[in-house]
């Protein structure tokens, strides 16, 4: 009672202009993450002469694009109080359906792109409906979907990759560039901007925060929490589909066994970015930083010549440390 009132007074206020900016990067306490991020960049710059260069930064951007794109969707799902473990399988299934659609239609790349996105959205819809209508925890629903989507992807061709022969498709999602910026990075930036807009400036975004913050209070305020959660899953599924298109375009083929385990990097990026695993708080920009930080770690450690086995250990330890420091008391 009185204690909480006083701690509010203690917290004090900040100028409104700073606050607007802060809304974008709001999370539990992402400042620690910014500091850690800066320290990493400085440290790697000293440790490796190749690290601090525009070509290497583009490299990092390309490497993190997939994780960042899916993590934007995952931010919605986690803020709404749910989780999606099936994204890597969804990515693979979407890539396969895109590649098959292009192959069957004789090189219609737009049809392939639509098929990939639709497949991802459909998987998300199923996840969302099972979670909200049957009230099964999303952890279990998506754990099941992780197997189902991967299994279907493998069964489509009997585990054989599907080659894509469409120059436009390769360029649009993989190898093209605008003003020297590779297509995957351009797509990532667009996704980040749209995601930040929808989460932080739209009515739907408000519903997502309220649903994860207190589902009962949201429901009592007339918010359709089932629809809100389902939509969050659909967004994530569609973005996993988009990531599937990028991976397929880059490799000129879709492989059904691709990206296994990617969901862990995605969830790590979101949580590292200050989004609460319990829902109700988080930010897109935090997620982007979280994803970049994982990318910088991978890249920097490789440049320093650290073995991939040791990299796993270092990465894991840094993720735990960063989250431990940014925890609210």
């Amino acid at each position: 009672m009185s204690l909480t009132a006083q701690s509010a007074a203690k917290a004090g206020g900040t100028a409104p202009s700073v606050k607007t900016l802060k809304n974008l990067v709001r999370g539990d306490r992402p400042y620690v993450l910014y500091a850690a991020f800066a320290v990493l960049i400085v440290a790697f710059s000293f440790a490796s002469p190749v690290f601090f260069s525009s070509s290497n930064f583009l490299n990092i951007g390309r490497q993190t694009a997939l994780v960042t794109i899916i993590a934007v969707g995952m931010t919605f799902v986690i803020i709404a109080g749910e989780i999606d473990l099936s994204v890597a399988s969804t990515l693979a299934l979407s890539g396969m359906s895109a590649a098959l659609a292009i192959q069957q239609s004789g090189g219609n790349w737009a049809l392939g792109a639509a098929a990939g996105l639709a497949t991802g959205a459909l998987v998300g819809l199923v996840n969302g409906l099972l979670t909200t209508l049957l009230a099964i925890p999303s952890f279990l629903v998506t754990l099941g979907m992780l197997g189902i989507a991967r299994g279907i992807a493998l069964m489509l061709t009997g585990t054989t990759p599907v080659v894509v022969n469409s120059l436009t498709f390769w360029d649009s999602f993989g190898e093209g560039a605008i003003l020297g910026v590779p297509a995957p990075i351009v797509i990532t930036i667009v996704v980040i901007a749209l995601g930040a807009y929808v989460l932080h400036f739209s009515t739907f975004g408000r519903r997502v925060f309220a649903t994860g913050g207190n589902a009962t209070a949201a429901r009592y305020s007339g918010i359709n929490t089932r629809r809100t959660k389902t939509l969050a899953f659909v967004i994530t599924g569609a973005l996993a589909g988009l990531a599937g298109l990028i991976l397929t375009a880059r490799a000129h083929a879709a492989r059904p066994d691709i990206a296994a385990g990617l969901e862990l990097d995605v969830i790590a990026a979101v949580i590292l970015g200050g989004t609460s695993l319990f829902g109700g708080r988080g930010a897109i920009l935090g997620t982007v930083l979280g994803s970049l930080m994982i990318g910088v770690l991978n890249n920097g450690l490789t440049l320093m010549g650290v073995s991939s086995q040791a990299q796993l250990v270092v990465k894991g330890a840094i993720i735990i440390a960063a989250v431990a420091f940014s925890r609210r008391k």
């Binding site: 739209s202 408000r206 949201a218 007339g222």
Partner: protein, 542 residues
């Protein structure tokens, strides 16, 4: 958050005793606090307070939210340490560094938020962490059961030791918590707003239990916002304001008016407040529309699993009360109107139109608002700001092409904060950091704009201090005056008598009868009407 209350301690109004009663000899004191100070950041929560507790007494501790009661309790419980001053337990100077140390010294605190394992039985909860074991380390289940049974019988607690705590109504969960404290040989029992969620019948059970405990020499510190209880139960009363002790008085020397003025201080005490606490009822009855006009809400023969025939009509501009014990179906009636329950029989009408809400979305669209019973669980997103909470029920009108109008939301919350005098730094303040009264005002703020046709209020002033309570009554009356129909559920019968023109008695899921305010002349009369049937079967999950 700024303190709106002046820090000066002005002399109290004339009809108050100016001297404290003769203090008991030092040896007789269970607790003795002197010069206690505690500062959080720049806020002085305790500015040198005195307090003492004698064996066998019920000592009421009163004050508005932020007065320092909770801080003192936290120091006693070992949750917080004081900055200066002394604390003596049985004449021995102590400084608790942990709740365990406080407990070992014989202090037990029963908080408003209960600390229980809902999936365990009453007996298992009472013995949690100190289960009797056999030589092989197995828990002696039968001993736990029999000892709990004997203990509950001895104190007259109507609880079934085998009942699963999570299935019990809140009142009985609280009873379990008190029983748990009593079982560990406490000498000082601190009850923090124990009755805030209890109905009248259950209150008496609690009071009986407290009297039995004090008869054995245990001292009870009793924190409450319900002043009526002070007179029923306590021998002495201490009032805190702004981190200082206003005074300690024998309860017999005080009356309602002097108590209220001690609590709220030299702030202008509206005549209405004085009248209100004296139980004079509504100052002016709002003109009720002529009979025969279409009621804002009409329910006829409404029934489901819990409700067995609800008939009532609420007119626009009228405040109608629903009185009944916990479990009588009061809350279920509100939930039905708000679309949270689907009736199996009967009809609902809003302004004469048939109304079948499939969920809160439909109800809100029809102009119905709900201030739910559980502010934390149902009313607010505690981690979100005032603005975000206030904007929540009507997001659509604030949206243009999917773009959320921050300006519109800011204006809406700004107006609500001003009109409801919500005391907070600004609209971005997180509601979880506000006091109970201010949180409740935020819940009311959610339904302020646009005006509701029908406002449903479930225990609108639970955990709200005296000053804020009056302000909330003002908000309710104002809503009614502007044409909103109000249906209010309250366990506090004096509150219903104060607010309502008509009161409907609910019992066993049925509306028994509707009475006019004029037909009952006292709280006792209403109490009698509510309780003429056998009390709810306690302890047994339905």
């Amino acid at each position: 958050m700024k303190h709106s209350i002046r820090r000066t301690v002005a002399p109290l109004s004339g009809d108050q005793p100016s001297q404290a009663p003769t203090p008991p000899a030092p040896a007789e004191r269970l607790v003795e606090v002197s010069g206690l100070r505690k500062t959080y950041g720049t806020v002085q929560a305790l500015r040198g307070v005195e307090f003492e507790l004698a064996p066998g007494e019920v000592h009421a501790l009163l004050g508005e939210n932020g007065a320092g009661k909770s801080t003192l309790i936290k120091v006693l419980a070992g949750v917080e340490s004081s900055d200066a001053g002394t604390l003596k337990i049985f004449g021995e100077e102590k400084s608790f560094r942990s709740p365990a140390e406080s407990r070992a010294a014989g202090l037990a605190v029963v908080y408003q938020e209960l600390s229980q394992v809902p999936s365990l039985t009453v007996a298992a909860n009472i013995f949690l962490g100190r289960e009797p074991r056999t030589a092989f380390g197995a828990v002696k289940q039968s001993e736990i059961m029999s000892r709990t049974k004997a203990f509950l019988a001895e104190y007259g607690f109507p609880l079934d030791p085998r009942a699963v705590v999570g299935d019990l109504p809140f009142a009985y969960r609280q009873m379990t918590e008190i029983a748990k404290a009593l079982m560990s040989n406490v000498r000082v029992l601190v009850l923090d707003e124990p009755t805030s969620a209890l109905s009248e019948g259950e209150e008496e059970v609690l009071f009986d239990a407290v009297r039995k405990v004090t008869a054995r020499g245990v001292g009870v510190i009793y924190v409450t916002h319900r002043l009526g209880e002070v007179f029923k139960l306590s021998q002495r009363v201490t009032v805190f304001r702004d981190g200082l002790r206003v005074g300690t008085y024998p309860t017999s020397d005080m009356d309602m008016k002097s108590l209220v003025s001690a609590i709220i201080g030299p702030r202008t005490m509206a005549a209405e407040v004085a009248d209100a606490v004296q139980g004079h009822g509504p100052k002016q009855d709002h003109v009720q529309r002529a009979t025969g006009s279409v009621p804002a809400l009409a329910m006829s023969g409404v029934g489901d699993q819990r409700l067995r025939g609800v008939d009532l009509e609420v007119q626009s501009g009228e405040i109608m009360g629903l009185a009944g014990v916990i479990g009588s179906g009061r809350t279920e009636i509100l939930e039905t109107v708000f679309g949270l329950r689907r009736p199996r029989q009967g009809q609902l009408q809003i302004h004469g139109q048939p109304f079948k809400p499939a969920g809160p979305v439909d109800a809100i669209r029809a102009g119905v608002g709900l201030v739910p019973e559980d502010r934390h669980g149902q009313g607010l997103v505690m981690d979100d700001s005032i603005e975000r909470n206030i904007a929540l029920p009507r997001l659509k009108p604030l949206t243009r092409l999917g773009f959320f109008s921050r300006k519109g939301a800011a204006e809406r919350s700004h107006a609500a904060m001003k009109e409801l005098s919500i005391k907070a730094q600004n609209r971005k303040t997180v509601v979880g950091t506000l006091s109970g009264g201010n949180q409740q005002k935020v819940v009311f703020g959610k339904w302020r704009e646009p005006r509701c046709e029908l406002l449903l209020l479930d225990e609108p002033t639970v955990g709200v201090d005296v000053g804020a309570r009056e302000e909330i009554y003002g908000v309710i009356r104002q809503a009614a005056a502007s044409g909103t129909a109000v249906l209010v559920v309250s366990s506090d019968l004096s509150e219903l008598l104060l607010l309502c023109q008509r009161i409907t008695i609910v019992r066993d899921g049925r509306t028994i009868r509707t009475i006019h305010r004029d037909e009952v002349d006292s709280e006792e009369a209403l109490h009698h009407l509510v309780h003429t049937s056998s009390p709810v079967t306690p302890g047994v999950p339905s």
